[in-house]
């Protein structure tokens, strides 16, 4: 076997008193070898990020290694002095982060930030550093590296920023690269490119990579070795194929079972009902106002026409900036459009004033992405849910009775009614959000990325709940997502959006088996772990 780069033995990271458990990571053992990618997988709160940060001694205040050792190059990093650690950081261990926008200093140019690594660790003079920076940026396949070096972070796209971060982390050819969810904040096609880049650089330099992720699709694409962390305990570790195809621990099995497959599940086809919600040539443009009237403009919706029928689930799929959320908001009249029409249940609602719009609001309700931000923290759950019906004239006792009933429907205990939102987990809050949307007995539900902020096991439950409720209440569901896998699970028809327009709209089965538009094909190809997910699906099918 190849040589050991990092040897984590019996690592325990203590948490300050009052945390939900005594230690973030408990007795973890993991060996990283040169030229291998080790994926550390876990759900939120599993301690995977803290374990990675402990390697570089970057733990937050009041959190510290309480036992065990991290051997790197014959040195125990847990016992290294700050000066020794500083010499290792950036030079022999590089790190990249989840959100490249915040991980870069907004006030310094890209070139200056990469140059900083060189000026800390090398005797190179200014000119040599500048040349090296341009060469590094070229290595991560950035176009016009000299120009990029002069740019500031806000002038680059998310993918470009992450490439620049990778250039920075690999500037001095470190033996170990720590990547903390480096592709989670990126669009799926960009993610595929970044994964490819990390893989390519890591192979050519023989770097050992510790890759933190929550996504088994990413694991399937990049890992040599997989380690699964559950609430701070390493429950399973081994070669990728062994763990993915033959998981031993029940937790790993449950996690893998919850991963949405890249396949269309068997569904009883319902005959299409009447049109409930329709957008006719909706157009929305954002102009940058300027004093002399010459501003740039962005077309968010470019004459989009789409229909949603009774009892159907329509998916709006696209990357960030594709206009999918704008369309959803325009169709609920949370956003006004410049031209075109929105028709709800036979009534044109495009230009209704707020007062006349109110009776229509009952028919169409929204579920939001962030279950933390979308509930008022000062309102009891029962009030959150009952507020809508009360506004629409239902007496308070009846509204509250309905709220308690709905909590049962979304799988929460009726006692939840008298508690506050912060007492619930993300998945439970999303259930509350669904109950709130249902309280007005709507005919149309619009869900904007309802499961994107949730862990994969919770995600599966919430999706099942949505599908169940939709079928039981005969609702129409407009489902906005960036994740094709999720869309395949729940949608009857899928509209693929790009640059404010629908590039392809077809039944889910058709779009899965024979995508027509090149962009749809690219999206399918970019799904992390596509090959593995399809093989899995074929295996699971009877």
């Amino acid at each position: 076997m190849s040589d050991v780069v990092l040897d984590i033995a019996n690592l325990t990271i203590g948490l300050p008193p009052g945390a939900d458990r005594a230690s973030a990571v408990q007795g973890m053992n993991l060996v990283l070898r040169a030229g291998e990618v080790t994926c550390l997988v876990g759900e939120s709160g599993s301690g995977k990020s803290l374990a990675a940060r402990a390697v570089l001694g970057l733990l937050p205040p009041r959190v510290g290694v309480s036992a065990g050792s991290i051997m790197f190059d014959g040195q125990d990093l847990t016992k290294a002095t700050p000066a020794q650690l500083a010499r290792i950081r950036g030079a022999r261990i590089g790190m990249i982060f989840q959100e490249p926008m915040t991980a870069l200093n907004p006030l310094h140019s890209i070139g200056r930030q990469i140059e900083e690594v060189l000026s800390i660790h090398t005797p190179l003079d200014r000119r040599a550093r500048r040349e090296k920076v341009v060469a590094l940026l070229a290595d991560v396949h950035l176009p016009d590296p000299a120009q990029i070096a002069r740019s500031f972070p806000h002038q680059l796209s998310g993918g470009q920023r992450q490439r620049a971060m990778i250039a920075m982390a690999l500037a001095l050819d470190p033996k170990l690269l720590i990547a903390d969810e480096p592709t989670t904040a990126l669009d799926v096609t960009t993610q595929a490119q970044i994964l490819h880049l990390i893989h390519e650089l890591q192979r050519s330099h023989g770097t050992a990579v510790l890759f933190i992720t929550h996504d088994f699709g990413v694991v399937a694409d990049i890992a040599d070795q997989v380690a699964v962390l559950q609430r701070g305990v390493l429950v399973e570790a081994g070669p990728r194929d062994a763990v993915l195809n033959d998981p031993q621990h029940p937790y790993t099995q449950a996690l893998l079972a919850a991963v949405p497959r890249l396949v269309v599940p068997q569904r009883t086809a319902e005959k299409p009902g009447i049109v409930m919600l329709e957008s006719i040539k909706a157009r929305k443009e954002y102009r940058q106002k300027s004093l002399f009237g010459r501003g740039r403009s962005t077309v968010a919706l470019d004459g989009v026409s789409v229909t949603l029928r009774r009892g159907e689930t329509l998916g709006l799929v696209g990357e960030s900036g594709s206009g999918k959320s704008t369309l959803a908001r325009a169709m609920t009249r949370l956003l006004s459009i410049d031209s075109g029409d929105i028709v709800l249940d036979g009534d044109e609602i495009t230009r209704l004033p707020q007062r006349l719009m109110r009776p229509h609001r009952q028919k169409i309700q929204m579920i939001f992405q962030d279950p933390y931000a979308s509930l008022n923290p000062r309102q009891k759950v029962v009030d959150v849910i009952a507020e809508g019906p009360i506004i629409h004239g239902l007496p308070r006792p009846e509204a509250e009775a309905r709220a308690r009933e709905l909590l049962g429907l979304v799988g929460l205990d009726p006692s939840a009614a008298d508690r506050y939102p912060h007492e619930f987990s993300g998945g439970q809050r999303q259930r509350i959000g669904i109950a709130r949307a249902l309280a007005l007995r709507p005919q149309v539900l619009v869900a904007d990325e309802p499961v994107s902020a949730l862990d994969v096991s919770v995600q599966a439950q919430v999706l099942a709940l949505l599908a169940d409720i939709k079928a039981r209440l005969q609702l129409s569901l407009l489902f906005v997502t960036h994740d094709l896998r999720v869309a395949l699970q729940i949608c009857d028809r899928i509209a693929v959006m790009r640059h404010g327009a629908i590039v392809e709209l077809a039944d889910t089965v058709d779009i899965y088996h024979s995508p027509q538009h090149p962009y749809t094909k690219a999206l399918f190809a970019a799904v992390p772990g596509a090959a593995w997910l399809q093989k899995e699906a074929a295996y699971a099918a009877p």
Partner: protein, 323 residues
Amino acid sequence: MRRWRYFGYRLAFALPVVFGILVLNFFLIQLAPGDAASVLAGESGAASPEYTAMLREKFGLDRPLLEQFLAYIGNAVQFNLGYSFRNDSPVFELILARLGPTLLLMLTAFGAALTLGTALGVLAAVARNSWRDAVISVITLICYATPVFWLGLMLIVVFSVNLNWLPTSGFESIAEGYEGWERWVDIGRHLVMPGTALGLFYLALYTRVMRASMLEQTGMDYVVTARAKGQTERKIVFGHMLRNAFLPVLTMAGVQAGNLIGGSVVVETVFGWPGLGTLAFNALQSRDLNLLLGIFFISACLVVAINLAVELLTITLDPRIQA
């Protein structure tokens, strides 16, 4: 040049603001009871209606309001701010003579408060929860809560009367006949106490805001990135966090530049500083409307100019602001 184009925009916005102030000032003064003629007539002891009417006619105060207003605007555009009959001299010259000392006092107090406040804020944030942080907190609290006029009087009692270190009042010791460098040292000695009295409140404010802003930056991802590069803590603080943390302080300071002129009225009175503040106070007492309007106008221009300077500094420091 992105920076200068943006600055041009801002300048274009500033002109209507100045004009608006001109209009507002004129009509505000008209609302006050009494005019210069009635005051002059009263002081001369011959306040017969005929005499007052004659004075009004002489000064053009009997003409329609609109006519007076247009004449005022027309003159103001040419920096002719009228004639002060009380002081028997053109308003613009009066103001010009006082502008220097006021600018000196304001900019010294403002600059010192900003730099020292920033430095103390950084020190407190870096040594968070240590004795240094506690000492800085207590001092800022005291400075924050002390009224300016009381502080000024106490400074005089302690440093001039008892210790005899600094002059009690005035701009310079004219009687000594200092020249060149010595004259500037003398002015500096006169400046210490009024500058301190005016700036201490702002020093306390900027220290607190800077401390909070620095602590906010501590948790930012880019700080972790810098640490992961192997950068030293000192360079992380001064090379990365300082500029990011300073931006909100600068924004606040720009908004407050106007308060500084208001505050200088009290300080100038206490220390007998021959600035715009005392001039305004006297003009108000004697209903010297021309002079008062002139001072308002120049002060407004000053605030606009300081805001522009702060804005220019902000866009120099923050590349994210686009024209």
